[in-house]
Amino acid sequence: MKKEEWYEKSKTCKERNTDFSTVSGVPIKVLYTPDDIADMEHDRDLGYPGEFPYVRGVYTNMYRGRLWTMRQFSGFGTPKDTNRRYKYLLGHGQTGLSVAFDFPTLYGRDSDDSFAHGEVGKCGVAIDSLRDMEVLFDGIPLDRISTSMTINPPAAMLLAMYIVVGEKQNIPAQILTGTIQNDMLKEYQAQKTWIYPPEPSMRIISDILEYCSEHVPKWNTISISGYHIREAGSTALQELAFTLKNGFTYVEHGIKAGLSVDKFAPRLSFFFNSHLDFFEEIAKYRAARRIWARMMREKYRAQDPRSYLMRFHTQTAGCTLTAQQPENNIIRTAYQALSAVLGGTQSLHTNSMDETYALPTEKAAKIALRTQQLLAYESGVAHTIDPLGGSYYIESLTNELEQGAYKYFEKIDKLGGVVRAIDKGFFQKEISRSAYSYQKALEQKTKYHVGVNIFEEDEKAEIEILKISPQVEKVQRSQLKKLKRDRNGKRVREKLLMLRKAASDGENLMPRILDCVREYATLGEMCNTLKEEFGVYHEPIIF
């Protein structure tokens, strides 16, 4: 049968929907054929794994050599509580740690801050000082584990604490491996965890890049994150475009700060969301790798191929979990995990089924981890590289997303770059509009969410919930009080003064922060010291 004939015939068939589009609203054709990728050249546009432009994967043999790192994000209550959970997860075969901090810590506030009231240990672990960090990693040898810390405005302080914990375990900073998120741009755009205005924030980031390239060379200094952009409601394309543009902005900043691009770019890593639309997500990861490689080589003139590699962590989409019929979340998460793996992720977090209610219970967290282990050890999907490469649909989606991203880059450049576009509310507006139109699509039932707007059930789900006792806050506060009594207050004040001075002199902040940390200055004390110099950020209001 000829192509045209088939298309004619297919038009006569009745369709079950009037609209077929991805979860991001991109229309999907009834069939993809070689015509859809006619312009594509294999060697130029796909290449081989571990080779430019890295569409098929960043390493030569990908999961045949080493599986992705199974890295479950966790933290709650006191450092002691979380330390126990870490040991439990490591005991069940988890291969990396990922620290979730509570809100006060994320905002650089101590547990006794008035703003912290009611929030201590609730959404993550409370860390006030080096003392807490020592407890958090007690009995966990830092040379044998890689640790990711989801921390942004106070990233420098938490990294410093980690380094000092290493010192106390006799492990030199040179061999520490791990990641700090340290991606402030997406905070202003989507996640909204900020302390200082964008400019001083960018300066702190440059200081970290510079310091680590010298002293903590194996550390991933920024995890450029699309995850939160997506959670805030963006489409897949927006997630891709905004995240990469943020990445390039950090590169430009590093270069402007006088660093050679190949010195820090290999330490940049990424963090993406894995959302509902199976194929669109896979195409997104593939497109991201190609864009990064091309731009790093062509625009930023990186020479070291390691600068071209877009290595990324993935987390399944928290915003797709439902409170209704929570067990369904296990299945949802499994599909999302599969698309991350088919997309070639370097590490993965799978959400637990109970996370719309609270932090996961031990059991739920274990099922989430097992989901990954099933994929890795049973399903066979990790036996060959990029198994969907060459699919007309996947390749066509990959191309489309890449082109769409370039269009966004142009738009952002016209606005004067990322920082200026944040100030104008460009990202915030784009994201909240997408969020609203998705919500409307759900309510008009042009998009479905099982258990929410289709196949609903009346009965309430009974599942076990992890409760954080208000006792945690009391314990943290009294520990903090004790710490302040026991440490050498005079030396703390001295070191804080020197930090302030470094901030105003433009000296690299990292060594000063390390000094403060060693004297057990609290996180809040350090952040407040910098606030005096840098001021605080106020959001522009955009709908």
């Binding site: 205005p197 106020h538 209001i541 709908f543």
Partner: protein, 325 residues
Amino acid sequence: MKGRQRETVKGIRALLAGEKRTIARIISAVESEDSEEILEHIFPHSGSAYHVGITGPPGAGKSTLVSAIAKRLLGKRKKVGIIAVDPSSPFSGGALLGDRVRMTDLALDENVFIRSMASRGSLGGLAQATKDVALVLDAAGMDYILIETIGVGQVELDIAQVCDTTVVVLVPESGDSIQAMKAGLLEIADIMVVNKGDREGCERLLTELKFAFEMREQKVGWDYPILKTTATEDEGVEELVVAIESHASYLSKTGRLEDERKKKLLLRIHELIEKRIRFHLKENIMPERDIIKLLDKMYERKLNPYRIAGQIARRIIRLADRRFV
């Protein structure tokens, strides 16, 4: 009737004492219903607040600037009322009012009252409603009333003209002074401000504005200041407050303050008469439903609107003559 009067009097007393819940309640009443009775009671207690309008294009940083001005005034132990006007959605009639976000530092100050207002679609009515709300705040003992509007249309210009001093805010990239001129913003400005003065293009905009103002006919004795501020850094705000104060003292010294305020009262009388007559006409003299009955015939071209309007108008005038002459 007595019960209601007693309630109103009680309300007025609380208002005069600056009781915030009552102020808020009365503003709602004034905003949403026929409230002349309340306003009658309030009017004698007003007249001491100084009204400053702050207007400019979206994104000019008006709220931040208003907040910074208010802080300065509070530092001088003044009481400050803020009215932030934003457009209602023409489709739903709803509105998203986010100006308070920029004013969080002020929110808990005892001497501040902030009120967000939506335009509620009633074009002509908005300026009036704003005036009425300002009247309430005036009677509640505010020394200054800052009225923030988006300067994009005639309505906003009208609101700006409620004020004793009008500050027009531009930013370097809102571009062009040309747009502002087209919108008529420059003509209503007593003080021009270029905010976000740390931005590229600021100096050029300042020069353009200076040129534009030289072209503008100068009112005697008032040299239009063109100021540069960076509201987020609190830079240039003191100068702006000084400029507002000196405009105020210029107005009162030259007697213009009284003249202008009398003019505004005259205008107010006109508006109120028109409002009453319009209401009376619609309800009693030429009820809409009677005219609607004629629409079919007009549509078929058997009657024409010109003649009908003429007839109704003549009838109204005859009625009026009989009553008033």
